[in-house]
Amino acid sequence: MDLQTLSLLVVGATFALYIGIAIWARAGGTSDFYVAGKGINPIANGMATAADWMSAASFISMAGLIAFLGYSGAAYLMGWTGGYVLMALLLAPYLRKFGKFTVPQFIGDRFYSQTARIIAVISLLVISITYVIGQMRGVGIAFSNILNVDLTIGLISGMVIVFFYAVLGGMKGITYTQIAQYCVMIFAYTVPAIFISLQLTGVALPQIGLGSTLADDRYLLDALDQTLIDLGFNAYTALGGMSLLNMFLLTVALMIGTAGLPHVIVRFFTVPRIRDARKSAGWALVFIAILYTTAPAVGAMAMWNFLNTVQPGEVGSPEGNVLLEERPDWMERWERTGLLQFEDKNEDGRIQYYNDRNPEFAAMAEEQYGWQGNEVIRVDRDIMVLANPEIAGLPNWVIALVAAGGIAAALSTAAGLLLAISSAISHDLLKGVIAPKISEKTELWAARISMAAAILLAGYLGLNPPGFAAEVVALAFGLAAASLFPTLMMGIFFKNMNKQGAIVGMLVGLLSTLVYIFLFKGWFFLPGTNVLPDTPDGWILGINPSSFGTIGAILNFASAILVAKVTAPPPAHIQELVESVRVPRAG
């Protein structure tokens, strides 16, 4: 069977599975729809959280990001997992004890203020909508680059599937589909990784393989360091791509941002008890760690394979590089998607890949080797995962599986985000602010209609992605770190935090982060409107806009505490609410 048919069959089978689950797990009421009736087993919730959390970016892009950043890629690995410690220790058990449906609802009740609730809704909408655009792109990449299906058809079929289980089942349908999607995703990620690790090092576990030796008895990481240095790059295990300060700030921003993402926090509202919420965060991280500890091996091994394909012989010898005509089939296949491009600049019929931005090395290479510049003019980092099975020479069904895994990763995250968006609209804005008197049945219908509208919006944005799609992901994490996390944490841990403090803190965090990003990326991302150049020299104190969430969070804490000190403390019933949230069994 050819690759195309096989891939479509595998993806079709997973879609049929998701629809089956949707019909089985319909929502009976608003509690089912918003928090799956608070009846999800903690291990099952951990698995669903992992699928919810691991997006197209984790599945398709992260290993490639690490491959090109080397050691510094750890900012993403630690940032995106370390946030779960903050969530498990500082938020999840207390918000579960509070026992309502949404994150803005907690902020509104705790700070006895509709204004606070509305600011939280606005943060939630900005964070979740920007995030959903990335997922729609992921669905598109999987369909158009792996399956060779038209982007529009791929996106629409993805949207129809999500529509089915999200509108029918709400959180309940989404949770059970996410469990299935986690299984598809993790199988698709680890199978090629195990095969590649076996081929290179003879060790099946990629986590061990990365620290093992190659066939020639050199350690894989030593050999990779050496080859990269020979080609004028930084060593793989050395700091690269960012300063130590920015790596530190980026890691912290991603950690706090992860803990403040509303679509993940709300997953801990779905378990029956407080102790389940504590444990469930651990299980979520177990399932996430399986992929996140495999990714560094996938990145390094894909980089090693890539370098050795281009440079099979000694660096600098005339026959050291691969002949353009003899390059492997997978390269030609990926050139057709535009993700990989070569240009034979010195017309020697061979491909040279080296760091021509390193002036010393470039001058030496030109003089001694006759190289006229880096000839791999485009290598999209997503290739490192997408082409992995082909590079390792794995059978077609594995390639089909990677496509299904990428789609599962994107759809599961999209569904979680869409639920956060629709419940903020139906529960926080409609039921909470505009029309508090509507019946549960009307609210459920409103939730379904806003879910459908959110899906249409996401689909539209997926088909017409704004040019700044990649930039706004940094914005989502920065805003979550600067606005929601500090406010939630102070709501639980600072009994005297009042409404004025919370509102000022959220606004200061939100606006300072937005302004700092806009200063370098342009106002509302309009090209050419940036005030300062977006380069390490232009950044204030050398702080990258993506890392600013850490500073925004500090500003939020500081201004909130200052304002709370000079204004009246919260009323007695609010202080009692805080007391009750802190203790598992209490009125």
């Binding site: 370390g82 410690v85 700091l239 130590l244 560094p296």
Partner: protein, 86 residues
Amino acid sequence: MSQEEQRSLYWKTNLRIIAGCLIVWALVSLVLGILLAIPLNHFSIGGYPLGFWIAQQGAIYTFLIIIFFYAWRMNRLDRQYDVDEQ
């Protein structure tokens, strides 16, 4: 002890446990994994330079241990102060 004092002692103990966990969390990831990673790379675990291993593998395993330890410790504390869910 009155119920109020009990509650306040329960909360203080909880804060101490959280502080301990977060110190380990920050020490492993931010200090060993980032600030001291380059000097730590002079040591190695198998073929992994130590700083690199902590940043790309070890920190994640540490996070897991912290979360499960906290869940276990808090369940014990809940029973000790008789505030656990029935």
